[in-house]
Symmetry: C2
Subunit: 112 residues, 2 copies
DNA sequence: ATTATATGCATAATACTCTTATGTATTATT
DNA sequence: AATAATACATAAGAGTATTATGCATATAAT
């Protein structure tokens, strides 16, 4: 696991990217996907994720659809049109940020 | 400028890296150096920087030396032995984090 | 059968860090 | 003479994450 402060500010970017790849996901699924894809290095907590999802929905970036699975409820999130744009912008901004940080921290690409 | 949440959590890493390269710097100098090196893309604010420096000093990561420049005061910060280790760890952790995020966000190295 | 784990949502108290604003003071520039 | 730059510092407020808690169903393990 990374120190928590490192991951700060990247939560929304991660969520938006996953949703642009997967069209439709629910909260718990997002936490598991991130855990899997990062080999447990990034584990989103519910206390951070759910408020973030709610805020993205309030901003009109995500829309929701509630589905009943047996007696349990699942809330699927989908990117709105605005959300698709936002997702691309966020990823692109982060990509730029990575380059700036690599330069600033003098991080070389590992050879081999 | 990047959106502020993007830069969150990177402040200490940036400061420690600069100090490992420059041996001895003062607060204002750090803000200018970062501004210069990033082409104004990252601008540290005093309200964030000074408390961070104080906290790093309290942790024994930085030591200070106050120098009088005419009638003005400058507070130079230097990495302690512990600080040198911390600096390397932080940069290395961030480097690892970048790789994880590049994979997660499917960011390709730009060719050309 | 019963207990523990996993799935699935949500929020509240707390802590932490950054933004923004303010304060003080010296030095350089217009 | 006024403004900008240099140089420190802190305080109020905002925002976001951590940690803890709560509720409930479903599945796996003992």
């Amino acid at each position: 696991m990374y120190s928590s402060e490192l991951i700060k500010g990247t939560l929304k970017t991660i969520v938006l990217k996953l949703l642009s790849d997967n069209q439709k996901m629910y909260g718990y699924e997002i936490t598991q996907k991130v855990k899997d894809l990062t080999g447990d290095k990034i584990q989103l907590t519910e206390g951070a994720l759910y408020p973030a999802l709610h805020s993205l929905e309030a901003e009109g970036i995500l829309s929701t659809e509630v589905v009943n699975i047996g007696k349990r409820v699942r809330k699927y999130y989908t990117l709105t049109k605005k959300g698709k744009t936002t997702s691309e912008e966020k990823v692109s901004e982060f990509s730029d940020f990575i380059n700036t940080m690599k330069f600033l921290l003098d991080i070389k690409p590992q050879v081999g």
